[in-house]
C-alpha cells in the first residue's frame, strides 16, 4: 500500500446474480483516496457508483458478490474479511451517508439517540458524552438550535436538516472516510446548498477523506478534488476536477457537461388563443387553511408555462386543483374558453380528454399488471371507441412517435421497461387522448440527466409538431431554462413573480427568484465557495 493512501481499491470486479447467472456489474475499477481528499464518483443509474461506494466498506447488496480485486482500507484488506472484522471497521473507520435521510432514520427514536447508538455500541464513549459530541457537531454543520434540535423526532426536521443530521451521525465514531451516496439528490436547490456546505465543512476543515457519489456533475464539482466518470460499471475518465470540467477527454463526459438548450425562441403575443386560464384560485385540503391563494395564470396555445418553486410551495397542489382532484374553494378555471366545473366528477368526457397529465414517478403512474398495448389502447377505446385492427395501428403509430420500436415494446408489461421508457409510455398515453394541454408534474426529476434530456427534447418535438400546450411543474431551473416560454414562480402557496422567460431570468429579480436562481449549482468549482462567502458577508 502506498503511503498516505487511506483507501486503495485495485482491479475490483463485482458481480450480480440476475437472469440466472453471475454478471459483471463493476468491471476492473481501481481508485486511491488520500487523507483530506474528496473523490467524486459520477455516472447515470446502473453505472455501479453506489456498488463501488458500498464495496469500499466491504459490503455488497444482496445478490451481489465481490468477485476479484483488492480493497485495502488503511492497511486492512477487506476482501474476504470476516463479518467480525468488518463490523469493527464500519462506523469507526468508514461511514456511509445514504440518499434519503428521511427513510434512513428510525421514526420512533429521537435523532440524537440514533446518533449516540454507534459510538456507544463501539464502546468509544458513554451516552452522555455522545450527546455532548452530537450537539457540537450539529453546531458545526450549521443546524439551527443545535442544543435542542437533536431531541426532536425525525419527522420534526426538514429534509435538508435531516440530511445534515445524518452526516453528523456518520461522523459520530470519527471515521477517516465517509461515503456520501447522492446526499442531495432528494432535496431542492435551496436546501441542497446547506448540505453541500456541511459536506465541505467536514472534508476541508476536519480533514476527512470522502467518496462523493452523485449523478450531477455540477454538484460534485463543488466538493470533489478528483472526479471519476463511470458508465456501465467501467471507468470512462478520471481526472482532477478543474481539468476534467475544462478539458474532458471522452465524448460521454462532454455529454454530461453539455449545457441544455433545447428551445428555439418563440414569441408570445396576446392574440394567441388562451388554452387555460386560472383566476383568483384559492384551495385548501382541510377546513379553511388555504394552501393556495390568489393564483392567476394563463397558458397559451402551443406554449410552455413553467411553474417553479421548492417543495411545499404548492405547485403540485395547483396541478391537482386544475385537474379537479382537489376542487378549488374559490375562483374560476376556464379551459378552451369555457368555464370548467371545479370538481372532477362534474366534468364531461370531452374536457377530460383535452386535459392530460404526466407524472413524476413513471413507476407508479403505470399499472404494473398491464401491457404497453393496454396502457395506450385504453384511452383510444375510451375516448374514441377505437378497437381491434385500427387501435393496433394507432398504438404502433404512437409508439413510433415516442421513439420506441413497436414490435419490441407493444407486448411488454410496464414493469419490463426502464425509467425513461416508462416515462415515454406515459407520454404516449397522454398523446393517445389528443389533448390540448398536458400538465407535466416534475416529469424528469426521477430520471438520469441524459434520459431526462431525451424526454425533454421529445416533449419539445411533439409540441412543435402538434401545437400542444404544456404546464410544466418543476424545481429544476435548468429544465426551466431549457424549455419554457413563460415562468411562474411560487412560494408558500402564492405566486411571487411571473412573466416571459427573458424577463424573469434577467435582473432585477424578485428577492425569492434571486435566491432560487443563485442556488442552482454551476459547473464552476468555485461557485459554492463564492456563494457561501457572499451570503456570509450579507449576514454580517
Amino acid at each position: 500500500m502506498e503511503e498516505n493512501n487511506l483507501l486503495e481499491i485495485k482491479h475490483l470486479c463485482i458481480e450480480g446474480f440476475f437472469e440466472e447467472q453471475w454478471n459483471t456489474i463493476v468491471d476492473d475499477i481501481s481508485l486511491n483516496l488520500k487523507r483530506g481528499e474528496v473523490l467524486g464518483l459520477i455516472g447515470e443509474s446502473g453505472a455501479g457508483k453506489s456498488t463501488i461506494g458500498l464495496a469500499s466498506m466491504g459490503y455488497t447488496r444482496q445478490g451481489c458478490r465481490l468477485a476479484s480485486g483488492s480493497i485495502n482500507l488503511d492497511g486492512t484488506e477487506l476482501m474476504g474479511a470476516s463479518d467480525e472484522e468488518l463490523r469493527t471497521i464500519r462506523g469507526s473507520k468508514i461511514a456511509y451517508v445514504a440518499q434519503s435521510a428521511a427513510a434512513s432514520f428510525n421514526p420512533f427514536h429521537r435523532v440524537i439517540k440514533q446518533y449516540a447508538e454507534a459510538p456507544v455500541q463501539h464502546g468509544l464513549m458513554g451516552y452522555e458524552e455522545a450527546e455532548q459530541d452530537a450537539i457540537k457537531l450539529y453546531d458545526r454543520l450549521f443546524l439551527p438550535n443545535p442544543e435542542e434540535i437533536g431531541f426532536r423526532y425525525p419527522h420534526e426536521l426538514s429534509g435538508g436538516q435531516l440530511q445534515r443530521a445524518m452526516v453528523a451521525m456518520a461522523m459520530s465514531c470519527k471515521p477517516d472516510i465517509i461515503v456520501f451516496d447522492e446526499p442531495t439528490t432528494a432535496l431542492d436547490v435551496t436546501t441542497q446548498i446547506e448540505v453541500l456546505a456541511a459536506v465541505k465543512e467536514i472534508t476541508e476543515k476536519m480533514n476527512k477523506a470522502a467518496l462523493y457519489i452523485t449523478h450531477d456533475l455540477a454538484v460534485v464539482a463543488q466538493v470533489a478534488h478528483r472526479i471519476m466518470v463511470l458508465k456501465n460499471g467501467k471507468l470512462v475518465e478520471e481526472g482532477e476536477t478543474r481539468r476534467l470540467i475544462k478539458h474532458p477527454k471522452e465524448k460521454y463526459t462532454r455529454q454530461l457537461l453539455s449545457v441544455r438548450t433545447l428551445r428555439e425562441e418563440k414569441e408570445i403575443t396576446d392574440r394567441m388563443d388562451v388554452i387555460l386560464s386560472v383566476e383568483d384560485v384559492h384551495a385548501a385540503y382541510v377546513g379553511n387553511e388555504m394552501v393556495l391563494e390568489e393564483i392567476d395564470l394563463t397558458v397559451r396555445k402551443g406554449r410552455t408555462v413553467a411553474l417553479v418553486g421548492e417543495s411545499g410551495s404548492g405547485k403540485s397542489t395547483l396541478a391537482r386543483v386544475i385537474t379537479g382532484l382537489l376542487p378549488a374553494k374559490k375562483g374560476s378555471i376556464s379551459f378552451l374558453g369555457d368555464n370548467m366545473p371545479l370538481e372532477l366528477k362534474h366534468r364531461d368526457k370531452e374536457t377530460l380528454r383535452r386535459l392530460q397529465m404526466i407524472y413524476q414517478m413513471p413507476d407508479t403512474a403505470l399499472n404494473p399488471k398491464q401491457t404497453v398495448r393496454t396502457v395506450i389502447g385504453r384511452p383510444l377505446n375510451f375516448y374514441f371507441g377505437i378497437k381491434g385492427e385500427e387501435a393496433e395501428t394507432r398504438i404502433r403509430e404512437l409508439l413510433t412517435k415516442i421513439e420506441l420500436d413497436p414490435d419490441k415494446y407493444i407486448d411488454r408489461l410496464t414493469t419490463e421497461l426502464s425509467g425513461g421508457e416508462k416515462q415515454r409510455i406515459c407520454i404516449a398515453r397522454a398523446l393517445a387522448a389528443e389533448p390540448d394541454l398536458i400538465i407535466c408534474d416534475e416529469v424528469t426529476s426521477a430520471l438520469d440527466q441524459l434520459v431526462a434530456e431525451g424526454i425533454l427534447s421529445l416533449l419539445q418535438d411533439l409540441q412543435n409538431e402538434m401545437d400542444i400546450s404544456y404546464l410544466f411543474i418543476t424545481h429544476d431551473l435548468a429544465t426551466v431554462k431549457a424549455i419554457s416560454d413563460k415562468i411562474v414562480i411560487m412560494l408558500e402557496g402564492r405566486i411571487v413573480e411571473q412573466g416571459e422567460k427573458e424577463e424573469i431570468l434577467s435582473p432585477p429579480h424578485h428577492e425569492y427568484t434571486d435566491k432560487l436562481l443563485a442556488s442552482v449549482p454551476e459547473m464552476d468549482p468555485n461557485w459554492l465557495d463564492n456563494l457561501l462567502d457572499e451570503r456570509a458577508s450579507t449576514f454580517l
Binding site: M361, T364, A365, L366, N367, K369, Q370, P379, F382, A433
Partner: protein, 272 residues
C-alpha cells in the same frame, strides 16, 4: 405459471399433492366407494377387514364409503362458501376503497357490527332460526366470512387506490367497474389468493364444527365433522373410528396451509 410450479419448495408440493388427492377422491367418489353413501352394510363399529377397509360406523355403514362421500360434500361446500364470501367481500371492499367518504363509512360500520358478534354463536342463531338447509348454510357462513375478506380487500385496495395509475384512470374519467376490475384487482390478487387458501381452511373447519354441533349438513348426508360427532361415543370403547374423519380434516387443512404458506411467501415478495 409452470415455471412457478417448478420452483416451488418441497413443502408446497406436498401440500399440492394432498389437495390433489382430496379433489380426485371428491370427483370420483361414486367410482371409489364400494357401497352406497347411506346403505347399512354390516355390524355397528366393526373393525377393519378385507370387506370394510376402515371398519363401519355407529349404524353399520362402511366408514371408507362415508369418508369418500364426505370429502365430496365437505370440500364442495367449503369451496362454494369461500368463493361466495370472496365475491361479496371483494366487491364491497373495493367499492368502499374507491368511493371513500360516506359509502366507506356506512359499509365499514355495518361490517363492524356483524363482526362484533362471535361468529359461531351468530351462525348457530341464524341456522336454528332458518333451519340448516344447504343453501342457508352456504349463505350464512359466506356472509359472516365475507366481513373478514372485506377488511382485507378494502385495506389492500386503499393502498393501490392512492397510486398514480389509478389517479390517471380517474382523470381519464373511468367508471367504478374499470377501476375495480382492471386497475385494482390485478394488483390486489396475490394477497387475496393467499387469503383465499387461509379462509378455505377456516370455512372448512367451521362447517366441520357446525356439523359436530348438529347444525351443519344434516344426516344421512356424509360430512367429516358430522362423522366425528356421530362416532364420538366409540372413543369410550377404545375404538378408533371417530379419529379417521378427524384425521381427514387435519390432513386436508395441513395440505391447504402448506400451499398458502408458499402463496403468502410469493405475494410478500420474500422470494427475491
Amino acid at each position: 405459471m409452470l415455471d412457478l410450479l417448478k420452483q416451488s419448495p418441497i413443502s408446497a408440493r406436498v401440500g399440492m399433492t394432498i389437495v390433489l388427492i382430496n379433489v380426485l377422491v371428491a370427483i370420483f367418489a361414486p367410482v371409489l366407494a364400494p357401497y352406497g353413501e347411506t346403505s347399512i352394510v354390516g355390524d355397528v363399529w366393526a373393525s377393519s377387514s378385507g370387506q370394510f377397509y376402515m371398519g363401519t360406523d355407529h349404524l353399520g355403514r362402511d366408514l371408507f364409503t362415508r369418508l369418500v362421500y364426505g370429502a365430496r360434500n365437505t370440500i364442495a361446500l367449503a369451496f362454494i362458501t369461500t368463493a361466495l364470501s370472496f365475491v361479496i367481500g371483494i366487491v364491497l371492499g373495493f367499492i368502499a376503497a374507491v368511493k371513500g367518504g360516506w359509502t366507506d363509512q356506512i359499509f365499514s360500520r355495518i361490517i363492524d357490527i356483524i363482526m362484533a358478534f362471535p361468529t359461531l354463536i351468530f351462525a348457530l342463531m341464524i341456522l336454528s332460526v332458518l333451519g340448516s338447509s344447504v343453501s342457508v348454510l352456504i349463505f350464512t357462513i359466506a356472509t359472516l366470512d365475507s366481513t373478514r375478506v372485506y377488511r382485507l380487500s378494502r385495506a389492500v385496495a386503499m393502498d393501490i387506490e392512492v397510486m398514480e395509475f389509478v389517479e390517471a384512470a380517474r382523470l381519464r374519467g373511468e367508471g367504478l367497474w374499470w377501476l375495480m376490475r382492471y386497475e385494482i384487482l390485478p394488483n390486489a390478487l396475490p394477497p387475496l389468493v393467499a387469503e383465499f387458501g387461509l379462509r378455505f381452511c377456516f370455512v372448512f373447519l367451521f362447517i366441520a364444527s357446525l356439523s359436530f354441533l348438529g347444525l351443519g349438513l344434516q344426516p344421512p348426508l356424509a360430512d367429516w365433522g358430522g362423522m366425528v360427532r356421530e362416532n364420538a361415543g366409540a372413543i369410550t370403547f377404545g375404538i378408533y373410528t371417530p379419529l379417521v374423519p378427524a384425521a381427514a380434516i387435519a390432513f386436508l387443512t395441513v395440505g391447504v396451509n402448506l400451499i398458502v404458506d408458499w402463496a403468502l411467501h410469493l405475494s410478500s415478495g420474500l422470494h427475491e
